[in-house]
Amino acid sequence: MARRLGGAVFVLWATATFTFVVQLFMPGDRATMIINTQAGNLQSPSAEQLAALNARYGFDDSYLAQYVRYIGDLAQGDLGISYNQHQPVTEIIAAQIGPTIVLTLSALVLAWLISLVVTVLATGRDNAWSRAATGFQIVTAALPPYWIGTIFLVVLSVQLGIFPVEGSNTLVGTILPAFTLAIPLSGFLGQITQDEFARVLDQPFVTSSRTRGIGDLGVRLKHVLRHAVLPAVTLSGWALGALFSGAVLIEVVFSRQGIGGVLVQATNGRDIPLVTGVMLASAAMYIVANLLVDIAYRFIDPRLKSA
């Protein structure tokens, strides 16, 4: 476990370093860029203006000094100050991340539910339902979530008026965005669990459970499912990251409050501390999720406990 934690810290450090290195390739003078972006047109800033910004963000220091300060601040949970909002990035993220996390987690749960139900009911049965389920998974896995979201919004909110048109963070307002995010992921997870489920169905221990008189559904739920979920559980860390970034798009579709609007605005305004801050928050989430997956794995497959 200590080894795992060490690995997690390494990945976090490496992701921070990556975001820092990418910034070094930024064309032009950074203080001028900040002034231009804020004004919305090309300015000819005075030397004092530039000097003030350079002093504020430490752009005059050597790259090494800037890097050491960046990593040092990060270790203390300081993500720097937003170029455009002039507030600490951690405060901006903390104020907006709540609804995004609720959306991400609801979508993860929904995606798992959909893919498991389809897997248990449809795998290994040669009938129209089973083929329809497979087709559904291939199609949904290829759909861009923003397009599904727009269809939901147009049909269910604008035309039929079942759901609110303006995004809200209430339970009802979360249903459509969560389904939108969950559907492509469920198609993807479903394909993986179905492959594994079909493989496990042919194993000798399944035949032996059947000969002991356990019903088909019982065999599927009690004996096969536990094995079939493992490959997709491994992907949960990745899935959480994909959902979190997908949530950014979906929040824009449903004009929902959350980190999405902040991130798009920050990217547009080239507010790099804010963009990297959100990226690092997402990377941290990925790392924590992977640690949790390791723990969950031992519960699902007890043979790994001794290892």
């Binding site: 990556f18 861009p144 397009w147 993807f188 997908g246 990217t267 080239r270 790099i272 990226m279 997402s282």
Partner: protein, 293 residues
């Protein structure tokens, strides 16, 4: 399309192509025909356009889909179907460009890891693992923020976002081929390292990449359109699909066709490419394992 990808050896006569077409499942034939139609739209858009994509007609502004305008008209009365067809070339170019650039990065990393020693492989593998901590979209957003908004940035952003996934697959390919029995046999017969790499490892490890590239173009277009949807792509006057999505967003509650029809063009293309690509892949390598990019 599919006949080229399968790469039939020798002179592929008309009879041969006919037999091949008949052997394809109906779904794959339809998907192939759709991809061909898109290619036609990219090369000769005028052949398919019912109207001039730039001709404005304010009397016919914001009309819903009809026989005359299957995709409706926009706020200036321009025919949306004709505009979507006009945008095909640029959208496909962005997809192909981003995938090609992504493959350049991925090949450099994947080949170095696959052929380099344990140290190089370990370092590159670690680097890729770190990149996987970032969702593709966020890597793309970072590049847009650092380099500013433009078509070039959009292509580079999608390329860098998707490259780690391809690099991992390419690395795996090289490692599998390097450890295969025929490479061992070639070594046993005394072939030099260079000859083995040239004659055995490269051709075999690269073969699946043709299909991977085709699938990648569909995915790249979806990613690029996602950036465009957020208003971070090509500037609006152009009828590129992502730009149409971006422009249509303002009308989603009043004129839904402006947002949904360019999206439909993207989805149908991505799906058709996926169906054709997967079929070819299964023919070449058997059952395909699903994995995240």
């Amino acid at each position: 399309m599919s006949t080229i990808a399968i790469d039939a050896p020798g002179a592929a006569g008309a009879a041969r192509i006919g037999a091949l077409l008949r052997s394809l499942p109906v779904g794959v034939r339809i998907a192939g025909a759709i991809v061909a139609l898109y290619l036609l739209a990219a090369v000769l858009p005028g052949l398919l356009q019912p109207h001039d994509p730039f001709a404005t007609d304010l009397d016919a502004a914001l009309q819903g889909p009809s026989v005359a305008h299957p995709f409706g008209t926009d706020q200036s009365g321009r025919d949306v179907l004709s505009r979507v067809i006009e945008g095909t070339r640029q959208s496909l170019a962005i997809g192909v460009g981003a995938t090609a650039l992504s493959f350049v990065f991925a090949l450099a990393l994947g080949i170095a890891a696959g052929l380099g020693g344990k140290l190089v492989d370990g370092a590159i593998n670690r680097f890729l693992e770190v990149l996987f901590a970032f969702p593709i979209l966020f890597v793309a957003l970072l590049f847009v923020a650092v380099f500013g908004q433009s078509v070039t940035t959009q292509i580079i952003a999608v390329a860098i976002g998707t490259a780690p996934g391809y690099a991992r697959i390419i690395r795996g390919q090289f490692l599998t081929v390097k450890g295969s029995a025929y490479v061992e046999a070639a070594r046993a017969v005394g072939h030099s390292y260079g000859k083995i790499v040239r004659q055995h490892v490269f051709p075999n490890a690269m073969r699946p990449l043709v299909v991977m590239f085709t699938l990648g173009v569909g995915q790249a277009i979806v990613w690029a359109s996602g950036l465009a949807f957020l208003g971070l792509g090509v500037a609006p006057p152009s009828p590129e699909w992502g730009a149409l999505l971006d422009a249509g967003r303002a009308y989603v509650t009043s004129a839904w066709w402006l947002e949904l029809t360019p999206g439909l063009a993207i989805v149908v293309f991505a799906l058709s490419v996926t169906i054709v690509g997967r079929h070819v892949q299964e023919r070449l390598e058997g059952k395909v394992k699903v994995q995240p990019l």
